[in-house]
């Protein structure tokens, strides 16, 4: 029972962070209708920014969110404007060219990181990395003892805060509404006077900024190496499918489900099998719930 609850907590905390990665991808997918396979690599860039900020200037990784996100925002804008937009106009046999293009971008990013930063595994030795809160500290004779790792919890809380901020941006502000309109129906949005081209660029920047922030949140609890991106691209994609394509609400649920499922597999089946659990849930989602969580939410009328 104790280990079950502990696993559940760990999964929930992991899931919150996963959700942030997934939202970035689902935003880009919703508006651009393309899959950004360089997503994990963008996260890797964000993590390296946080790492160097900590190593060189001693800036706490959590503060680096405010540094890494703007940088990633402009990197995303650059990628969208100068690399992806030209390809959208090119006529070719395979429409998947844009996806393959993002693979190329990801390769370049990962390889440049290897050249400049070597392929060593790195971690930021923050002072609170191993501290934790214990249930028994607050409740004298608790029947079960649970612990809550400090960096995990702080990362989770910040991830939730960012998600809420994003929700306000998307549902209350004009630009947010324009982005959602573009995602829902490009032609109608164009007719209603939405600057679709600008929205695309902004969305790609926003998605990159989100994943950059996620990178900063991951760095106190995870290690860092140049080729880590692919793994996180896959995670983001699984969340996107699980949540329903282009649905931000779905991505949050998808991230939580994936996080819990993954830590359950790691505890009860074996550490090495956690990635397989990830794909099993992905396949199950494809077969039994092709619309993702978004279709369930719609049925219950709580989705947008």
């Amino acid at each position: 029972m104790e280990s079950f609850l502990q696993t559940l907590i760990a999964g929930l905390l992991l899931g919150g962070l996963y959700a942030l990665i997934g939202i970035g991808m689902t935003l880009i997918m919703g508006v651009m209708k393309i899959i950004n396979l360089a997503h994990g690599e963008l996260m890797m860039v964000g993590m390296y920014i946080a790492f160097w900020m900590f190593t060189l200037f001693g800036i706490d990784p959590y503060l680096s969110v405010f540094i890494a996100s703007p940088i990633l925002f402009f990197l995303g804008i650059f990628i969208q404007k100068f690399l992806i937009n030209p390809v959208l106009k090119v006529d070719s046999i395979l429409p998947e060219n844009q996806v393959i293009l993002t693979v190329g971008i990801g390769m370049v990013l990962a390889n440049l990181a290897t050249i400049f930063f070597k392929s060593d595994y790195r971690a930021t030795p923050v002072s609170y990395a191993t501290s934790a809160w214990y249930l028994s500290d607050y409740w004298e004779n608790a029947p079960i003892d649970l612990s809550l790792s400090v960096p995990w919890t702080v990362s989770f809380v910040i991830a939730v805060a960012i998600t809420i901020a994003l929700w306000f941006f998307l549902s209350k502000t004009d630009s947010g509404k324009s982005i959602r309109a573009t995602a829902q129906d490009l032609d109608s949005a164009l007719l209603m006077g939405v600057n679709v081209k600008l929205m695309r660029v902004v969305t790609f920047g926003l998605g990159s900024a989100l994943v950059g922030a996620a990178g900063c949140l991951f760095i106190p609890i995870y290690y860092l190496f140049p080729s880590m991106g692919g793994q996180f691209t896959l995670i983001a994609f699984v969340i996107t499918i699980l949540g329903g394509l282009g649905s931000t609400n779905g991505a949050i649920f998808g991230g939580l489900i994936l996080g819990i499922f993954e830590s359950m597999t790691a505890t009860y089946v074996g550490m090495g099998w956690a990635p397989v659990g990830r794909f099993l849930i992905f396949v199950a989602a494809l077969i039994f719930l092709p619309g993702g969580m978004a279709s369930l939410l719609k049925k219950k009328r709580i989705g947008k």
Binding site: I34, I35, L37, V90, I93, E96, N97, L101, G104, W273
Partner: protein, 313 residues
């Protein structure tokens, strides 16, 4: 002339070892031919049928492991892997197709990518079957001389070429192209799109699996990170076809020549060697922006570029 080009290329390749290439050069040429076989198989599914797969390492790896497991567990000659992998990989592709062919376009691409990764993790963890991360070492090499391997892979590649060529001239080939151009229209014309996509996937998978089984025999060592590699197998396969020419018969061969030698060239330059993936990435970006149909596919475009006197005559 154009009609006989594949024959000329084949004749040239057949006499190539007689010139007395060094063992290293022969190794390069073997890799070129192996990659063009894999590229042609990928091209059948992606270029002609429009289902862009990012997980051909799954088929390559299953083929390679079929051969490896036959040797490792059953103590059979790994050469049995080549015929047996056809059956195994076809069955595997069929099962995979049941899941991934429900998806379209980019989603299919990513589902196959996930499948490739899933196979790698499984191979790492199924220690009792695959030996896990230690991999499988083929302890007895059949031949020391590479010439035999060369002719075997040449035969495999030729067979792959013929299968793709005759398939694309048949009715099924036209169905494939119809599915690529517009799946809904194809469906409305009475083509059972799911069935034909499954056929394309099975044939493409089996052809890739044979190349994988050859790889085990030739290299003598496999482990999950080598044969199920995302970048070094799946993405390289895509790049070979993208560079050479999507939906062309000779494109994968041209692409394989460029990619294998370019990789070797870049790696041999001191100081730049680590950057070979950056070169690949930039090449891929440039090709997609400027020659979206590859060198063979956009050959007319290149020709026009170098035309002397009046580009628009």
């Amino acid at each position: 002339m154009k009609k006989y080009l594949p024959l000329i290329v084949l004749a040239f390749l057949a006499v190539l070892p007689l010139v007395g290439l060094s063992s290293y050069m022969l190794h390069m040429v073997i890799l070129v031919i192996m990659w063009s076989a894999v590229g042609m198989a990928w091209n059948l599914l992606a270029g002609y049928c429009g289902q862009v797969s990012f997980g051909h390492a799954a088929y390559f790896g299953v083929g390679a492991y079929t051969s490896g497991i036959l040797y490792y567990q059953l103590k059979l000659s790994p050469w049995w892997g080549i015929p047996i992998s056809i059956v195994v990989v076809t069955g595997f592709s069929f099962l995979l197709g049941l899941i991934v062919l429900r998806l379209r376009g980019p989603f299919f691409a990513l589902a196959t990518l996930a499948m490739g990764e899933m196979m790698r993790v499984s191979a790492e963890n199924l220690n009792w079957l695959t030996g896990g991360n230690i991999g499988i070492l083929i302890q007895e090499r059949t031949w020391i001389d590479k010439t035999y391997y060369y002719y075997i892979i040449l035969a495999i590649a030729t067979a792959t070429f013929l299968v793709v060529k005759y398939l694309m001239q048949s009715k099924i080939g036209y169905y494939f192209v119809a599915i690529r151009e517009d799946q809904d229209a194809a469906e409305s014309l009475g083509i059972d799109t799911t069935w034909y996509k499954t056929i394309a996937l099975c044939i493409s998978g089996a052809l890739t699996g044979i190349a994988g089984a050859f790889y085990t025999n030739y290299m003598g060592y496999i482990d999950p990170h080598v044969v199920f590699a995302l970048h070094d197998i799946s993405i390289v396969t895509i790049m070979i076809v993208m560079v050479g020419g999507v939906a062309t018969l000779l494109g994968p061969f041209v692409g394989a020549i460029i990619m294998v030698f370019l990789a070797e060239l870049v790696r041999s330059i001191p100081g730049l060697g680590v950057a070979h993936q950056t070169f690949f990435g930039i090449l891929l970006i440039l090709i997609i922006i400027f020659l979206p149909n590859g060198i063979v596919g956009d050959f007319q475009k290149i020709k026009r570029l170098f035309k002397v006197g009046g580009a628009y005559k």
